[in-house]
Amino acid sequence: MSTPTTRAETQIHNIGYRDYDGPRLGRAYARRSLFSQSLRGAYGLGRSAKSKVLPMILFAVMCIPALVVVAVAVATKVKDLPLDYTRYAIFTQALIGLYLAAQAPQSVSRDLRFKTVPLYFSRPIERVDYVLAKYGAMASALFVLTASPLLILYIGSLLAKMDFAEQTKGFAQGLVSVALLSLLFGGIGLVMAALTPRRGFGVAAVIAALTISYGAVSTLQAIAWSTDSLGAVKWLGLFSPITLIDGVQTAFLGATSSFPGQAGPGAGVGVVYLLVVLALVVGSYAVLMRRYRKVGL
């Protein structure tokens, strides 16, 4: 039964301003929302079609070698995968670097450049929430990129009826390794990108940081190896992100080192590698926190 009064009320409500009496989910929810928006954004989801192209292509290119390896393994019925789980990220490091260079500036430089950051800080979230959400999203995006091919390899190896226990162990070690890599690379990429509101500079800085350090380290390692100073090889590995990961997984995750002469660090030096990785991750976080103290409102 609708009386005239209620009908009139309904009309007014439809035309005029409506108050919001629903729930306000607060700070933790806002942080989660920022995290998911950033993670989706890292693959171009919820953004323009143009911005989906690069991350999707890189994702596909990342997975193709894994599919090929699996196809060959299944067809030839080999007993073991021709490629270790832990080795995959080392082989594809250029792609990972390219992805990071493209997406880290996208994630943070845009907010700085268009001065959207003050809008975030005028809402319930605080600086720590913003940094955690952005860092978490970048690391997760990298993890998706690096772990997906490992998952393909693992499923493929099971389809090829390889030894279950051995494959599961290898897969788990690979996952731990790429998780560390994602945290390390994500931190480095975001710090580089957050220092400049210009996206181009951010892209260049990330690529430079990754390739120059790797180029220098591998050249010096090769020189050290050819002059028979094997001891130096493992210490030199501390100075570039990807060789750091290589060192950690050689020491603790049963990987074969890609250093010259396979002169990876043992458990003792491995601890130093691990500490350096953790220090870089914490350091990146601290730098980001410092950076955003300046750019609030």
């Binding site: 629903g22 729930p23 809402r123 319930p124 409102l297």
Partner: protein, 334 residues
């Protein structure tokens, strides 16, 4: 809504610690702002933006305390920001997303669940006057439309209070009027209290219930808008010349002075030598009756009234009475 108690904010400068006095942005400011539309007026650098930062709990006060919606800014920043909207002075919109996507995201950042965020976004954008264009990327918007999006993101979570920092900046006169009308509606139709900053007193006079003037971080004056207009209204009157009165302006000036209305010394524009210079009389309106006297005097003289309008003031004129008083005297002496 807002209460501050001897609120001070000093920024350290780059000088050596020994000499550190710093820049004082706010100097023992005590305010009590009630519901409604309140204007915060001050020249650039008067401390308006600093005040807003403190009210949002983003920048600690050096001294004193402030409360927003009954919550202390020093301890309840998060709770305040959940219930307060903020529209910054500068550009803050990414050009590559649509207004809808952007405002939905901002609604979620304020804690609204996804469905509510979408509904509120559609509603709010409609209320600020964005229709079909809200699906297009913001990069293609005009300044007026961008200002509306900025306002929408401040209103989308249905705050109790919005802080608008120079919302009419960069708008043309029509856009300005529309924005001011919208701000008025935010209070009258939406029931949201407004604190709006500007360096133009004139535009706030028309929009606000209450105006607070700060200068150099100190409170210059705080009173309701009606007080201001009564005291300060300046009328500009322009009349035609007729055969009986070849110089209509002079005749009117004489008649009005006789009727006891204070006329500001130099007719507007004489100094500049602009066309029509000397044809605009500036007189002080003391109340409603002034309008009647002007109308009757003009009619009695048989002149044509070209215009009669209220003039916008520059803050300095109104809030430094000594300066405002000195000006006409000086002009008369010439």
């Amino acid at each position: 809504m807002i209460a501050t108690e001897s609120l001070s904010k000093r920024f350290p400068t780059g000088v050596p610690p020994a000499k550190r006095g710093g820049v004082t942005a706010l100097d023992r400011l005590s305010l009590d702002i009630g519901p409604g539309v309140t204007g915060l007026v001050g020249a650039n650098g008067a401390g308006k933006s600093t005040m807003i930062k403190i009210l949002l709990g983003l920048s600690p006060a050096t001294e004193g305390r402030a409360e927003v919606l009954g919550l202390d800014v020093a301890t309840s920043g998060t709770a305040i920001r959940e219930r307060v909207g903020y529209m910054p002075e500068h550009d803050c919109l990414p050009p590559d997303v649509s207004a809808t996507e952007f405002v939905v995201h901002m609604a979620r950042m304020s804690g609204l669940p996804p469905t509510a965020a979408r509904e509120r976004t559609a509603d709010t954008l409609r209320h600020v006057g964005l229709y079909e264009e809200r699906y297009r990327p913001i990069g293609g918007y005009s300044t007026g439309m961008k200002q509306r999006v900025k306002l929408a993101q401040a209103l989308v979570h249905d705050p109790k209070l919005v802080l608008l920092d120079e919302p009419t900046n960069g708008l043309d006169p029509v856009g300005r009027d529309e924005m001011l009308g919208l701000i008025r509606r935010v209070h009258t139709d939406f029931g949201i209290s407004v604190l709006v900053t500007s360096h133009l007193l004139g535009e706030l006079e028309r929009t606000c219930d209450h105006v607070v003037v700060i200068d150099g971080g100190r409170l210059l004056r705080s009173s309701s808008t009606s007080d201001f207009t009564q005291l300060t209204a300046t009328l500009a009157v322009e009349v035609t010349d007729t055969d009986t009165h070849p110089d209509g302006t002079a005749a009117l000036r004489k008649a009005l002075t006789a009727a006891g209305i204070a006329i500001h010394g130099a007719p507007e524009g004489t100094a500049d030598g602009l066309p029509g210079a000397g044809h605009v009389l500036l007189l002080e309106a003391t109340g409603e009756e002034t309008y009647d006297i002007v109308r009757d005097t003009v009619a009695d003289l048989g002149l044509g009234l070209v215009r009669m309008e209220q003039r916008r003031h520059h803050i300095a004129e109104v809030f430094r009475p000594e300066a405002a008083a000195a000006q006409p005297q000086e002009a008369q002496a010439r």
